[in-house]
């Protein structure tokens, strides 16, 4: 779990759950928003990682 990817996934999961719960009232909407946030955070970090690799690596 202490790999960069593992910690980033754990962090994204925590932040997504909090924002999903905070910004929506219905459980289904909360899950949907948390899922979208989680996907966006993980995919965004993954893409940004590769961009930095090719730009500065």
């Amino acid at each position: 779990m202490t790999t960069h990817l593992g910690v980033m996934i754990l962090f994204a999961a925590c932040v997504s759950i909090v924002f999903g719960t905070l910004l929506r009232d219905v459980p289904r909407d909360q899950l949907r928003l948390a899922g979208r946030l989680f996907t966006g955070l993980v995919a965004g970090a993954y893409v940004l990682g590769w961009v930095m690799f090719f730009a500065f690596g």
Binding site: T2, V7, L10, C14, V15, V18, T21, L22
Partner: protein, 142 residues
């Protein structure tokens, strides 16, 4: 139902508005001290439980990763801001300091991750405090 045939929505809303609300100051302080406590006080028990579990977990993970509990150090603005963020989640911050955790293991590979978890748990709790106070003030429906 009134003679006009329309439902008495106005009367229902008045009934809801007349219900006793938790004191916003008490809610704010409770939410600041314990993550999720403010939402418990305003009747949002499920949200409160989720916030308590997730933010407590983030704080503990931050400590386990070797994160540091930053002091208020005016000469270092970023350290000062990090300290302010960590103090936004009060009781876990105080408890960890009393128990001697959060010295910060700068040689640990997870040190910066630990700091990130600690700081973000405080910042998220600041948002949660504001949300709980909004519920207590009636700006959001319970």
């Amino acid at each position: 139902m009134p003679p006009s045939g329309k439902p008495a929505v106005r009367a229902d809303k008045t009934d809801i508005d007349s219900l006793p609300r938790a004191n916003p100051t008490v809610v704010g302080v409770a939410a600041w001290l314990i993550p999720g406590a403010g939402h418990f006080l305003v009747g949002q028990v499920r949200k409160g439980a989720i916030f308590f579990v997730v933010l407590s977990a983030m704080f503990v993970i931050g400590l386990a990763f070797g994160g540091r509990l930053f002091p208020f150090q005016m000469s270092e603005p970023l350290v000062f801001l990090a300290a302010a963020a960590e103090w936004a989640i009060a009781l876990p911050r105080i408890g960890a300091a009393i128990l001697g955790h959060g010295q910060g293991n700068v040689v640990a590979i997870t040190y910066e991750y630990g700091n990130t978890f600690l700081i973000v748990s405080g910042l998220l709790n600041a948002l949660i405090v504001l949300d709980a106070v909004d519920y207590a003030r009636g700006r959001k429906d319970v």
